[in-house]
């Protein structure tokens, strides 16, 4: 029951994000969307993911979008909507193909699903003895799949490097730089 209510809310918020033109409101709605998804994750017993979704989606992402809006504009420019038949067909076919592909997946919660017949028992039964910590999510994340996690850390680091290259370091300067030299003058402090 609560699943249906939450999913309905998700759809409503999703449609609102597409329709609303005030970007400030859209940013708030994105935060709400993330919180709803986080609640759904809690209901699915994926508490670790829910914590991440709430912190990143509803916290950090909203702040970054607000900062971007402060730098640009609050109103979305409305372009004269041009109906494009080809685009519509491509989107429909891709969507239909994706939905068709989900039919191959095992039903939700199926105990005979491939992931549940050898991987899950292996981790849930052996990890407390092998690793010695109760939170299996952490064991899988940090030990069994350690190299994946290393990759993630490197990706996050690379993201910071990319943003630094594009946007600069954002160091606040006491002395205002002269207005005409624009892009540079943002070297390391």
């Amino acid at each position: 029951m609560i699943d249906i209510v939450l999913l309905t809310f998700l759809v409503v918020v999703g449609v609102a994000i597409v329709r609303v033109r005030n970007l400030l409101a859209v940013t708030m709605l994105t935060g709400i969307y993330s919180l709803l998804v986080a609640i759904l994750f809690v209901l699915l017993d994926a508490v670790d993911v829910a914590l991440t979704e709430a912190a990143v989606g509803a916290g950090l992402l909203v702040i970054l979008m607000l900062a971007t809006i402060a730098l640009t504009t609050r109103k979305e420019k409305v372009h004269a909507a041009r109906q494009n038949a080809v685009a519509f067909v491509v989107v429909s076919v891709t969507g239909a193909a994706l939905i068709y592909a989900t039919l191959d997946m095992p039903p939700f919660g199926d105990p005979e699903a491939p992931a549940h017949v050898h991987l899950s028992p292996r981790f849930t039964q052996d990890s407390p003895e092998e690793i010695g910590i109760p939170n299996m999510v952490t064991s899988v994340l940090a030990s069994y799949r350690g190299i994946d996690t290393l990759g993630e850390a490197v990706v996050i680091f690379a993201a910071a490097v990319g943003v630094l290259l594009v946007l600069g370091t954002g160091t606040v300067r006491r002395r205002r730089r002269s207005e005409d030299d624009g892009e540079e003058a943002r070297e390391q402090p």
Binding site: L51, P134, G146, I156, F157
Partner: protein
């Protein structure tokens, strides 16, 4: 900022609590939900609240962008260091159980270490992103 007494008092109450909670999420990740990634974001969230109230200049006095950049790299290097440490002790890359005589203790030690690396990287990267966005002037 001085005129908003409610915000000032509430923020002074909340920011330390949020930071302590971040450390709890970091170091209690083996027993409860959480880990380095979540802890890093929560820690930065506390810092962002501080910035929103007291300004970017005050925040950058506490943690300057250069320090944040260095910490982002240090976190990743800490992670990789644990990988090579286990190789030097005769295991595979990131095979923590060789780090300490007891297999379980070694695994736990390795996990805490790399989670700390992830936490430092995520906190520093999130802060760097925030500084980059917030420090840009409108043109």
């Amino acid at each position: 900022m001085n005129q908003y007494i409610v915000l000032r008092v509430v923020s002074k109450l909340m920011i330390p609590v949020i930071m302590i909670f971040a450390l709890y999420v970091q170091f209690h990740g083996e027993y409860s939900p959480g880990g380095g990634f979540q802890a890093g974001i929560v820690f930065t969230a506390a810092f962002i609240v501080y910035t929103l109230l007291y300004g970017l200049e005050a925040a950058q006095k506490a943690i300057s962008p250069a320090v944040a950049h260095a910490l982002a790299a240090i976190g990743v290097l800490l992670f990789i260091a644990f990988g090579y440490a286990s190789m030097l002790l005769g295991g595979n890359f990131l095979e923590y159980k060789v780090l300490l005589p007891n297999d379980q203790a070694g695994e736990t030690f390795g996990i805490i270490g790399i989670e700390l690396g992830v936490g430092i990287t995520v906190a520093a990267v999130a802060l760097t992103l925030f500084y980059s966005f917030a420090g840009r002037e409108r043109r």
